[in-house]
Amino acid sequence: MRIPPQLFRLLLLTIGIVGSYLVARYFLTPPSFGQYGWYRADALVEARGARQLSYAGRKACDECHSEETQKLAKFEHKTVSCEACHGVGQAHADDPGVAITKPTDGLCIRCHEADPARPTWLRQIQPKSHYTGRHCVECHVPHQPNEVP
């Protein structure tokens, strides 16, 4: 049986297209593709190294400031991590010469401003009427909220 020439050309064209796809796939599929699934496993490695740390974590603070962290652990603010108030700390942990942000009254108000959507277990104040014109730390010790300075 003779293959009609138009069909033969079509067949050649198909083989050419599929063949070039297979060649491209052979060369261009990244080596880690399919290691865990239908994606590039190297993307996981890249995600791990994608960024520098900004927050150092409580353990890093504890290395130098253990006195403060131990004191904090005894009082109601024990669940509050250092960097929640003092800001990002990795730069300071790498080089103690780099200063950390100074906490302000705004940080106290951020959590303790009276708000009907807040849970009732949280102590809240009305910033407009609660000893206006004075700083929070004049009457409260942030590391020991139960005590008076």
Partner: protein
Amino acid sequence: MSEGLSRRHVLRRLGGALAGAVSLTAARAAKAAVQKGLASADAPKGYDPSQHKWLMAIDVERCIGCGSCVEACKAENHVPDSPVYFRTWIERYLVLKPKLGAGETRGEVIVDSPNGGMRKGGLKDFKPVPKEEILRGFYVPKLCNLCEQSPCSQVCPVGATFDTPDGAVLVDSKYCIGCGFCIQACPYGCRFMNPVTRTAEKCTLCYHRITRGLKPACVEVCPGEARIFGDLKNIAPDDPIQRFFETRKAQPLKPHLGTKPRVQYAGLDMEVR
């Protein structure tokens, strides 16, 4: 001697085989050379994804809506500053009292999240509602729900987003073509298009932190311990995530969608979507 085994014939076959072998080795060498550029050279070793299963749980009753997590997430992950891009955010739910004589249990529900609930301007940021009208209110932190059947990775046409073996859902920004299918597919609205890289972006569970033994930034700064994070494959005796599941009744968001979200919420109200 038959014609099929003449000297010429044998030599020709040998030559053909040799040429084939040479071109195969050349192809292999070429492939290796091309793929050298495709593999990540500086791969930090020492972390096996199959040995971990990370999970975040949310205790709604511990959330005080301070917005520290939103701010920390932006700082840690360099999320664009504009108030429309968030990897995690906080929603305020206010359930109003029903109208007098309406005979209903609750009235209208107001949900808002100004600037992701970052609370830069305090309570003033939120929609003002008179206190007498409020039945009750609460804050709900939102993030990637870490679906087991994640719709975002199912719709990705190029395999750029995927569920990792250790429980995260990540985006391969080198493969992402920025088509935005995943942003539409996510029923939780957890994705956005990064205006700088023009690729889809989302919560990675701070993958660069958790693989170094640190907590995600939002968990680190949460003052009320509303966000609980742990490794289900390496549970310590006093692990917070263990304690959470021992003491709290938890459920996922929108379980009816069949996405099998892994993030668990405790103290969830029926209004939360």
